[in-house]
């Protein structure tokens, strides 16, 4: 059985690690989690981001959710913000694409152009 006392162990273990984090990337992953996003499968996408980031120990990247981003037909939508506020919008996301974005965009800083909203809009024209 899990107990709240275990949280103290987590605290002791992670508090030092948090202090050690000097190189803050400040990147943020924001998943659209309104009715449209959820129905299109945003939950597994968010799980994939959290797991992939944890696997690579990228604890300075935060994963959060937001409401409707406004282009429901392209959901699930994920926005990646850099420390300076630049935003890249990825559309029609899947768990597999999430893994690719973590390794290419978040780790190596190369935007996955073919998955962005720009590419999706150009294709539909």
């Amino acid at each position: 059985m899990k107990s709240l006392a275990e949280l103290e162990a987590i605290r002791n273990k992670t508090l030092d690690q948090i202090k050690m984090r000097t190189n803050k990337s400040g990147k943020r992953v924001v998943v659209g989690m309104a009715t449209c996003g959820i129905a299109a499968g945003a939950r597994p996408v968010m799980n994939a981001f959290t797991e992939e980031l944890a696997k690579r120990k990228l604890s300075d990247v935060s994963v959060t959710m937001t409401g409707c981003i406004g282009v429901c037909r392209l959901e699930p939508i994920v926005e990646i913000f850099d420390a300076d506020g630049t935003k890249v919008t990825y559309v029609k996301m899947t768990a597999e694409k999430a893994a690719r974005i973590v390794s290419e965009h978040i780790v190596n800083g190369r935007v996955c152009q073919d998955l962005t909203i720009g590419a999706a809009e150009a294709e539909s024209k």
Partner: protein, 188 residues
Amino acid sequence: MRDISLHILDIMQNSTAAKSTLIKVTIQAETQIGLLDVIIEDNGCGMDEEFLSNVTNPFSTTRTTRKVGLGIPLFKASAEQSGGSFRITSRKGIGTVVKSSYVIDHMDRPPLGDIAGVMADTAAAYQAVEFQLVLTSGNKQFNFNSREVEQRLGGVPLAEFAVVQWLREYIGEGLNEIFGGVLNEIVS
């Protein structure tokens, strides 16, 4: 929506949009009458009577990007198609209560889904909000409170991966404990 946890997530998003500081989710199995109640309460801005009377209409929304809002109508439909009922009450400036009741043994009742993951992730994403989860069945009860966890963590954020992982397991055990043998999707 594939399961009940996704409806809860959707309604909790409404609560955060309504600037709630407290969101309480109650899931209770009333085994004598065979009903499963899912209640989401918040202390957000609430709705006036006019908006409330029309809120289950899919063409009613506060969104400015489009004219449809499907979250509440879908939640209502999921309860009603499984022989249950839906109710929403709200008071401007006080908060909103959304309640869906499902017939446990109805073949169209959606499964609970990943309640633990949804609660853990939402609590991590909205740390300014206090989240409570109450699970009950018969005389058994499980309580979770995000503030209580935060206090124990003393400065470690809820969004820390080790914490989210712990929350998932902790709430998961609560679900097994309370609903094992009651809901057939829970194997304990």
